[in-house]
């Protein structure tokens, strides 16, 4: 599912698993992340941005919500932002999430795979990553403000960070 908050949107929109949202000031986008990765694209001059809640690293041609997979989420976000006049040359990216919530054991290190895949997808699109809050074993609640480009990150037992 894709939602756009450009017009008549609430102040903060929660972006669920596999969803993408676009927002312009004064609206904000939020997400709660575990092993998923939140990919933020921001165009500082236009003060518009998008947040994708990426669940898995690779679509391998599988159908489904574009934002569910890192490799399809980034092109999808660029397409949505392009409709609002924001193009990759003026954009920066921030990444958060990719935790391993159940400890470090086991072969399915999906958080780590999501981080690598999202990083590769952004590099392929030529977008610089200017902020990261990744890995570990705690959940994160993030809030993206398209006016400033700031992404606030909250985790249990830790002070809030801004990337």
């Amino acid at each position: 599912m894709t939602t756009s908050t450009i017009a008549a949107a609430p102040a903060a929109t929660q972006v669920g698993m596999g969803q993408t949202a676009v927002a312009q000031k004064p609206n904000r986008l939020t997400a709660v992340l575990g092993s998923c990765v939140g990919v933020v694209l921001h165009h500082p001059r236009l003060q518009v941005g998008a947040l994708a809640h990426v669940v898995l690293p690779d679509s391998s041609g599988r159908a489904g919500a574009a934002a569910k997979f890192a490799d399809s989420a980034v092109p999808h976000m660029l397409e949505l932002l392009g409709k609002h006049g924001a193009f990759p040359s003026g954009m920066v990216a921030k990444l958060a999430g990719g935790s391993c919530m159940f400890g470090s054991g086991g072969p399915l290190q999906i958080g780590e795979a999501n981080i690598k895949a999202a990083t590769l997808a952004l590099e392929a699109a030529g977008i610089k990553i200017v902020g990261r809050d990744l890995g570990g074993s705690c959940g994160r609640r993030i809030g993206f403000d398209p006016e400033t480009g700031q992404v606030t990150v909250e985790s249990v037992g830790l002070p809030p960070r801004v990337i």
């Binding site: 929660q14 698993m17 596999g18 575990g34 489904g64 935790s99 919530m101 959940g139 994160r140």
Partner: protein, 203 residues
């Protein structure tokens, strides 16, 4: 014990029968553990798109207290018992025969009481499923987590998300003296365990 539910296809009907039986066993175990205080009902079994899970379960960005049991292996999964802070505190206090603790930090004894509750509940479910599929499921030692409920659920759902765009949800209600409690069991089988359960009941 089991409330009516809206089933969309025969596969879910099969799984509903299985989980109703497992919930019955879990309820009996919970009733013994809490001296008759707490019972369970299976309220719903259905599939929903992955994108709708957080909203459907109304997890939002709520901080929860959880006990997690992992079932390792291909035929495995995750079982998570969740409470809000108040309900978790009240259960621990009740089990320990003490007033609800005022200290915001959980003591080791309180954590242990909740972890043991998760163990008893999880083992009741696992035993019921093991009997059915004739394959031994070995749960990990339960562990205590306080985090965002949605964050923990994401990790648990990965095994299903890798192979399907929909996830199986079994909604369980907890009751104390007829009143519903804000507790939940989130059971997320791997695709292989889910297949084994369906095959066992079809066979």
């Amino acid at each position: 014990m089991t409330a009516p539910t809206c089933l969309e296809n025969p596969r879910l009907d099969v799984l509903h029968h299985l989980f109703a039986s497992a919930t019955h066993d879990a309820s009996a175990a919970m009733c013994r553990w809490t001296d008759g205080l707490i019972t369970l009902t299976l309220d719903e079994v259905r599939e929903i798109p992955l994108e709708e899970v957080t909203e459907e379960l109304n997890l939002g960005d709520e901080l929860l207290t959880m006990v997690v049991l992992s079932l390792d292996g291909d035929i495995g999964g995750e079982m998570i018992l969740t409470f809000d802070e108040l309900n978790g505190r009240e259960l621990a206090a009740s089990l320990l025969g003490r007033p609800v603790g005022a200290n915001p930090q959980w003591t080791e004894l309180e954590k242990s009481a909740l972890t043991e509750t998760g163990n008893i509940l999880g083992c009741a479910y696992v035993n019921a499923i093991t009997r059915l599929i004739d394959h031994e499921l070995v749960p990990s030692a339960p562990y205590f987590i306080q985090d965002f409920g949605a964050s923990v659920l994401q990790q648990a759902l990965m095994a299903q998300a890798l192979t399907s765009d929909k996830v199986l949800i079994c909604r369980t209600g907890f009751h104390k003296a007829g009143a519903e409690l804000n507790w939940r069991v989130l059971f997320v089988p791997t695709a292989a365990l889910r297949g084994a359960m369906e095959n066992a009941l079809h066979g």
